[in-house]
Amino acid sequence: MSNGLAPKLRRPSGYWLYLLPIFIGFLAVVGIPFGMNIYYSLFRWKGGTAPMRWNGLNNYVQLFEDVEFWTSLRNSIFMVVAIVVIPTAIGLLLAALLTETIGRRFGPRIASFLRATYYLPQILPIAVAGFMWSWILDPSNGAINTFLQSLGADGPDWLGNPDLAIYAVMLMLIWLQIGYPLVIFMAALSRVDPELYEAAALDGAGKWRQVLAISLPTIRPEIFIVVLTATVAALKVFAPILILTGGGPEGSTVVPSYYAYRNFFELSQVGYGSTISTVMALVIFAIAALMLWWQRRQEAQ
């Protein structure tokens, strides 16, 4: 930029110019669309040029009584287990294993090679992961059931059985997710002073006591970040459901984002779809705010 403009930019007000592009972009992509979404949620509307009929809060009342919506929320809890709880726990164990045992006793190169392998599914497009697993889980000639057959067992219809499908989806999500907490926790563990372990060992603390008493408290901030971001991600899960099950069988794997999608683009119930997505946005904000508040309180203590 030429020097002629410099004095103008030095005025305190000059800073506002820098916020202008993101302000416009935010309005166009987030602010106005989200506002419109809330507005649509107050109507019965088939979308497009169909007439919009005012419905007040009735969509919200209907949602509250909608069994399918509650099923989708219950499935979100399964998603949280598959994306937050299990990968965080396994990630902690593997991170401790790679850092403490493999890295120190078998060499850092093997440890970083294994870390890259565990992380690999994380960079996969989720649609591609979905396709890979829809074949692996295929009941008649998928990899898992063929393997079970060779052992003489009859594998179940993983994605076709309403009691089982959600667990099959969870299996894929766990596989997909493990690398994320692992990489973060490994970096965090490298912060732990080895002398602390030695001191603890001299005091007679076993391996488990060392991990619980020294490693966990040190990497608490990272655990919080992982739990927070993964929880938000779990409440947004969409592609795995669309590709693996399409919400089926018998609606047993519907999640909120997919339920909204179906209302928007398959059932032509745009008003109702907007209601679902508005409620989900509020649920996510509330949960994130609660977690942040809880963490602040913990830090203060």
Binding site: G47, T101, F106, L114, Y118, L120, A127, G273, M280, F285
Partner: protein, 294 residues
């Protein structure tokens, strides 16, 4: 056990990697567990590779776990006949490169008044941007779908480029402004005394300091955009504009497709990501490890 451990550690310190003889049976068990976990995680990739090169007859007679009886490229040709892979690859590259470039510049410019200028509303702006990154995409999708049609960007890569440039920049602004907050004030003041304008300070002083963070962001913006699904699957319904994951997903529900074709399609679709991963593995792992990115 604990005494042995302490001794070993001293030995490791004095003689790096030279502690091979002292590995206990317990450690070998843990090593086996780590290797087994690695094999389990890699297995799906291995199976895809194994079956993509089979002919249909080979697959149906020998099943998914056997080695190919003969090397066949038929599945790849079938997939390329159904999906315009070249076009999809080009679209993915164009979308991801444009978004990464626009979003990182937008992040930098927007973070400047927040992290360095500390304008009064910094806290509110950052909170709003953080909320934007948490917003589920279904709460934006119908208006975006409508807006893309109204502006003529529906079924063109531009709709997706605009949407993700802003969404990624919301995250990037948050991140860069916190990194900027840690830069010593004296540096900026000295530059001001030398007569540098705000614009010059941003590009000549801050950008070189921020380069590591910016490069991590570029890599992540690229890969996140490449992998995006919800918004592109709605906005890019025409083959001419589809990205690689979306093009693959058009095969969903087509029951007359051979499994080997799906495998070949999956393999072709994950290949660019794999190349990218191998090229940028360090940056990716460093970025995640720094807690910089989700």
């Amino acid at each position: 056990m604990s005494n042995v451990r302490t001794l070993d550690r001293q030995q490791v310190v004095t003689d790096r990697g030279g502690s091979l003889q002292r590995r206990t049976p317990g450690e070998w068990v843990l090593f086996a567990v780590a290797i087994a976990a690695g094999i389990a995680i890699f297995a799906p990739f291995g199976l895809i590779i194994l079956n993509a090169f089979k002919s249909t007859q080979d697959y149906s007679s020998n099943g998914p776990l056997a080695f190919p009886s003969s090397f066949s490229l038929q599945a790849f040709l079938d997939y390329l006949g159904r999906v315009n892979y070249g076009q999809a690859l080009w679209n993915s590259i164009a979308v991801s490169v444009l978004v990464a470039a626009i979003a990182v510049v937008l992040s930098l410019i927007s973070a400047y008044p927040l992290g360095i200028g500390r304008v009064k509303v910094s806290g509110i702006v950052l909170a709003v941007l953080l909320i934007a990154t948490m917003l589920p995409h279904e709460a934006l999708i119908y208006p975006l779908f409508y807006g893309a049609q109204a502006t003529g960007t529906f079924n063109t890569i531009w709709s997706v480029v605009i949407v993700f440039s802003v969404l990624q920049a919301a995250y990037g602004t948050y991140l860069i402004s916190s990194v900027m907050g840690a830069i010593p004030k004296e540096l900026i003041e000295a530059a001001q005394l030398d007569g540098a304008s705000r614009w010059q300070i941003l590009w000549r002083i801050l950008v070189p300091i921020l380069r590591p963070s910016l490069s991590v962001l570029v890599v992540f913006f690229f890969i996140w955009t490449w992998n995006e699904f919800y918004i592109p699957v709605v906005l890019l319904s025409d083959q001419s504009s589809q990205t690689i994951p979306i093009a693959l997903s058009t095969l969903r529900g087509q029951h007359n497709i051979d499994i080997t074709v799906l495998n070949a399609g999956s393999l072709l679709s994950l290949l660019p990501t794999l190349v990218f991963f191998l090229l940028f593995q360090r940056t990716l792992v460093r970025g995640v490890a720094a807690g910089a990115v989700k």
